[in-house]
Structure formats: C-alpha cells, structure tokens
C-alpha cells in the first residue's frame, strides 16, 4: 500500500517534470480545445465581441487573476488595448491548476513570444486559484 503511494507520487513527479520541460506541448492542445474557438488560433480575438490574447495589455496587467478567469469565467465590461468588451466568457472548471499553467504558458511564450522570465509556475497558478471568489 505504502509502496503504491510512493510509486504514485513518483509518477506524478515524472509527469510534472516531463511537461514542465516543454511548456507548449499540453498547452498547445489545451489552447486549441478550450480557447481558440473564441479567442482565435493566434489569439487575435474577434472584433468587439471577443478580446485578443495576443499583445493584450489586460493579460499583462491582470497576471494574478488569470487562473481564476479561466476557472470561473469572466463577465462585465473590461477594456483591452483601449477597446471595450462586454460579453460573458464561460467558466472552464474542468481544467486542473496544472493544465491552466500550461495553457497560460502557451499564451505567454508561444502566442506572445514573451520572455521566459514571465513563465507561470504551477505553484503560482495553484495559489492564484485559492484566491478565486
């Protein structure tokens, strides 16, 4: 029984390590499945209906809230790059903190070609999720 648990934990570490090593892999698939329909394949958004994730000042300024935005959705008026948006984004509660980390890093590093110092850690996202209202 104890041995099984150790194996289990060990297994999780391998998975975490393997994915952390390549932040795009899972993130890319998750992005395509959960975000691209609305935000567009390259994060370009759609007119005044859906805000962009590509070079979004909102994304930059609300780093701490991003895990909760994905987990709980978002509604009410917001402003992104000087344009107003007001359309409900549905919650995506089935993504784990780990999956959220990967999708955020895909947006950060691949879509926005951002510096790797801006990378999200799983810890940061897990902490962020605890603060959701």
């Amino acid at each position: 029984m104890k041995l099984k648990l150790i194996y289990f934990i060990f297994g999780i570490f391998i998975v975490l390590y393997a994915c952390n090593d390549n932040p795009y892999k899972q993130g890319k698939i998750l992005y395509a499945n959960f975000c691209a329909n609305c935000h567009g394949e390259r994060g370009e958004g759609l007119k005044s209906l859906i805000p962009p994730l590509l070079q979004s000042d909102y994304l930059e300024q609300h780093r701490k809230e991003l895990p909760c935005i994905i987990h709980q959705g978002l509604k009410g008026e917001i402003e992104v790059n000087g344009r107003k948006y007001n359309q409900e984004m549905p919650a995506i509660p089935k993504l784990s903190f780990f999956e959220i980390t990967n999708v955020l890093n895909y947006i950060q590093l691949n879509i926005n070609q951002s510096d790797t110092k801006n990378i999200f850690t799983a810890d940061e996202v897990e902490q962020g999720l605890k603060k959701c209202e």
Partner: protein, 206 residues
C-alpha cells in the same frame, strides 16, 4: 481513429481550388429530388418563413426575393464553435459587402435569450451596423429548428452539450429559387475558401 483524423486534417490543409468539392461549372442542387407522376423533377426548397431581425423587423422569404443568400445557425451565449463560425461569416460579409445580390442570414437557436435587442448588440459588436445586408433573426423555436432541417443543418436543444444547444457549424448557400446549392463546415477556413468560390459561381448564374 486519431491517425485517420490527422490524415483528414492534413488533407484539408491543401488549399488549392483542386481540393474543392465543386470544380467550377454549374453548382449542383443539394438534396434528394422527386419525380412527379407527370415526369417533372421536384427539387427540395426552403419553406416560407417569418422571423424577426435585430431591428425588430419582420424578415420573410420575400426579403430574399431575387437574391442569393448565406445562412448559419448560432446563439449569442455559445461557449463552443460559434465565434469561429461567425468569424467565417464575417469573411463572407467582408468579401461581398458591396454586392447587393448577396445577403446573409444568421438564425439564433436560443430564441428565449436572443431577443432582437440581444441580436442587435451582438451585430454591433461585430461591426455590422447595416441590418439590410446581414440579418440576425429570432422567432418561434419550432420554426427555427424546422427551417434548420430545410437547410440541411442541425439545430436542437441538448442539455448534454456545452451551452445546452446542439448545432452544426455549417454555412449554407441558397439560390434565388430557394434551393441549397452549396454548404461548408464553417469551422474550417479552407472549406470556406471553396465556399467563397461557390458564391462567385452562383452570383454569375442568371
């Protein structure tokens, strides 16, 4: 399964006109035809309809008299493919904005929530201020679902799908005689490339 999906996906990447279903010439009439006892051929046509658009105006089949038009089904609170399909409808709109022979018609499948006000708001967010060109319509739920069937599309309530409605992301092209002449998967920009060609072809038809 996955490999087959990938193969199909890759095939779809080929973007030259050769991979289009319709290769120039006259567009076929979509659907099963009947032969009457007199030997006449009957083609399936879109039934007469009355809906209400984003300005609260009645929109009927007469609105589309002597026009060809492109149809889709969506709902404003759609959590899945709608924005993707709408982005492709926008491509159609942009391309034929100045051609008065082509109109666009988007039906909500969530008439309870999507009132004309909601639809106007949605259209405005898309930058569509001219309601003469692109009608966003609502109406009786049963009529909306029934007409989807005429367009060879699918619209129904389904609590098991995200957002609670099931629908295909198809774009459908209808001629002046209310017959479906082409359709494509509105989530697939390559198929829409072909569809745009089909619209050009149909516009040339007398």
């Amino acid at each position: 399964m996955g490999a087959a999906g990938l193969a199909i996906g890759l095939m779809n990447c080929q973007n030259d006109a050769k991979s289009c279903r319709n290769q120039g010439g006259k567009l076929p009439i979509v659907g099963n035809r009947d032969i009457t006892s007199q030997g006449d051929t009957l083609y399936p046509t879109i039934r007469a309809f009355t809906f209400t658009n984003q300005e609260g105006k009645a929109i009927t089949n007469h609105t589309f008299q002597d026009k060809i038009y492109v149809v889709d089904f969506f709902f404003t609170s759609c959590p899945t493919i709608c924005p993707k399909v709408t982005a492709q409808m926008l491509r159609v709109y942009e391309r034929f904005k100045n051609n008065s022979n082509l109109l666009l018609l988007s039906h909500t499948i969530d008439p309870k929530r999507d009132t004309p006000d909601y639809l106007r708001n949605y259209a405005q967010k898309l930058g569509i201020s001219d309601a003469q060109k692109w009608h966003f319509v609502t109406g009786e739920k049963d009529s909306l679902y029934a007409i989807a069937n005429d367009y060879f599309s699918i619209a129904k309530e389904d609590p098991n799908t995200p957002g609670g409605f099931d629908h295909s992301g198809r774009l459908i092209l209808v001629d002046k005689a209310r017959r479906v002449r082409s359709f494509c998967d509105g989530t697939n920009p390559q198929e829409v490339d072909c569809f745009l060609r089909d619209i050009e072809t149909l516009l040339k038809e007398p």
